[in-house]
Symmetry: D2
């Protein structure tokens, strides 16, 4: 029997009622059994990245993030688009996770991205910026399927749960493909 793959999930929105937080919960719910997903939900506790502070002992949430990244075999990004790009919140998390060189914990891990927006972009503009970021992380990013959800408000129920059936099917297909992608690229499990 194959052990589940450890996936670290992070989210670019801190808002409690966020659609993207709901999307992330749906992704966890709809994931295949082969993925063990942990949502590291402390992005809002990180300090803003400052290289002068990037020395031991690092602030506690940074240490926690680093440990979570190091432990993960794959990364799942779920995020809104802010101002036609990656939210500062998420980018700040990545900036901490990608230090120090040359072997930062957020590196060499297969990854995937999804997002939902109220407007027409479906977070497209965020996702292609994040794909560029993935190059420096040497993170193989799953090309397809893409989960780009424009005008997404109506896809979620009044309880904030992803309710739309075709979207649920897409997310399920995405997560199944992500397991395959992640297994293909994942570093060997820890002994």
């Amino acid at each position: 029997m194959t052990a589940p793959l450890r996936v670290l999930a992070v989210c670019g929105s801190l808002r409690q009622g966020s659609m993207n937080r709901a999307l992330l919960r749906a992704a966890i719910e709809l994931a295949p059994a082969g993925l063990a997903i942990t949502f590291w939900d402390r992005a809002g506790e990180l300090p803003l990245y400052n290289a002068d502070l990037d020395v031991d002992p690092r602030p506690e949430p940074v240490a926690s993030l680093r440990a979570a990244c190091a432990d993960a075999q794959a990364i799942l990004f779920v995020s809104p688009e802010y101002n036609y790009s990656i939210p500062g919140v998420l980018k700040n998390l990545i900036d901490w996770g990608s230090r120090p060189q040359p072997d930062p914990p957020l590196k060499n891990k297969p990854a995937a991205v999804m997002g939902a927006s109220t407007g027409i972009s479906g977070t497209m503009r965020m996702q292609y910026h994040l794909r560029q970021v993935a190059v420096i992380l040497n993170a193989p990013m799953m090309p397809q399927p893409e989960v780009i959800l424009p005008r997404a408000v109506e896809r979620f129920g009044p309880d904030g749960r992803l309710a739309d059936d075709s979207t649920r099917a897409l997310v399920k297909r995405f997560m199944a493909a992500f397991e395959q992608w992640a297994r293909l690229h994942a570093p060997a499990p820890r002994p």
Copy 2:
């Protein structure tokens, strides 16, 4: 006599010895008399953007940022490139400045961007992402000249001052062009 144009300068690096902070100081030093540049140096004090907190009364540094943006007639971005994109620090500042809709203070202002890197990119990858962000801000971004400074360490003296003559000339030319660009686009001065 024409009043100087009020320019708000912001920086994507919090590190005290940062080359980009030095570049920003050089930009202020080499700017024409027609630009009155204020460096809002509190990016590191902002909370991480959270829409749940984006209601009055906002945290004090947010209010200060909003006032500084509202007062400015043009914006100067000076930033490193982090992970092939905009530093989270700078993006977080922009995320705060661009709220609330429909009339956020960081909107409709002419802008320009410059940056220096130790590596070969010269912050190119940050700059083109920032140019995309400028579209949603409805900020006319000066197309040229570009100040993209690869392998920049040697351009700065041991005291951290921009020392290289040709780089100084380029920054001077950039700032002169920025005055022209900003005057063409600037909102009328406050009465």
Copy 3:
């Protein structure tokens, strides 16, 4: 009385029934009187760019393109998105227009871009790539309004005419804004 501004329009699709060609016709129809728009519809006759051929005498369509660019005071791009970027057809036209250095005819002209797609992107991915191209052309690109038309088939009538009223209003507003933008930036008229 102010002379109309000479605008060169180009299109990234060669297909006769193209929605984007129809969108370009609508843009001409809905433009203010202050814009005199010429559609240079010979993109399909250009050779593929080859620096070895970029010497006098250049192939005839290249000479025609260069003359059309040189004569124009502003440029309007209307294009589909092909493979998440600029169509090769349009990029090839730009590659010819941007040569030879240092004073190519397709340079220093204010510009704007619009596009329609059958899918959800509305040509977004093409437009942000084109905005990056505009930087090297030193072309001030109008930031807003943006005309990004996803799922656009239903916006056009069976005769291929842009039929949807709200889209027509958006295009009209876009063209009025473009006149303002172009006049602000346009090179002085030829004597």
Copy 4:
């Protein structure tokens, strides 16, 4: 014994003395024995993409391109940067290769990109645009190492051969990594 992997190489420059053509020759020379690379050097013969012509019988060079793509197990892009993006020549080739839907020949193939420039960008701006294009092709793009060669003229000898030792070592390392990447992702060989 493992059969060599069939790699299709394409180039964005038609100029005979092109550095990028020389870089492609060097890539072939320095490739490991496990890669059998074919340079499809007919990009300049393709018509400009026109959906009205994209029906059988297609123009001969299109049929040849489609056959070459279908036969390949991986794709190597070597290209200059034109106007801060992908050359029209190369984009046009991709536009033909990616049609017709839903199973175009240039799809689902692992890929990599390299480039050299006379200026400071090293073709960076082309490469990130091409990486975005790869998403729609569902082409897993090798993230690292990157071959980005700024100020590249001095790296080539008077005979046009890649002469610089450290660049040769980088290209060799890139090609070795590409074999691994391509084998990981390649479709099963034809029976």
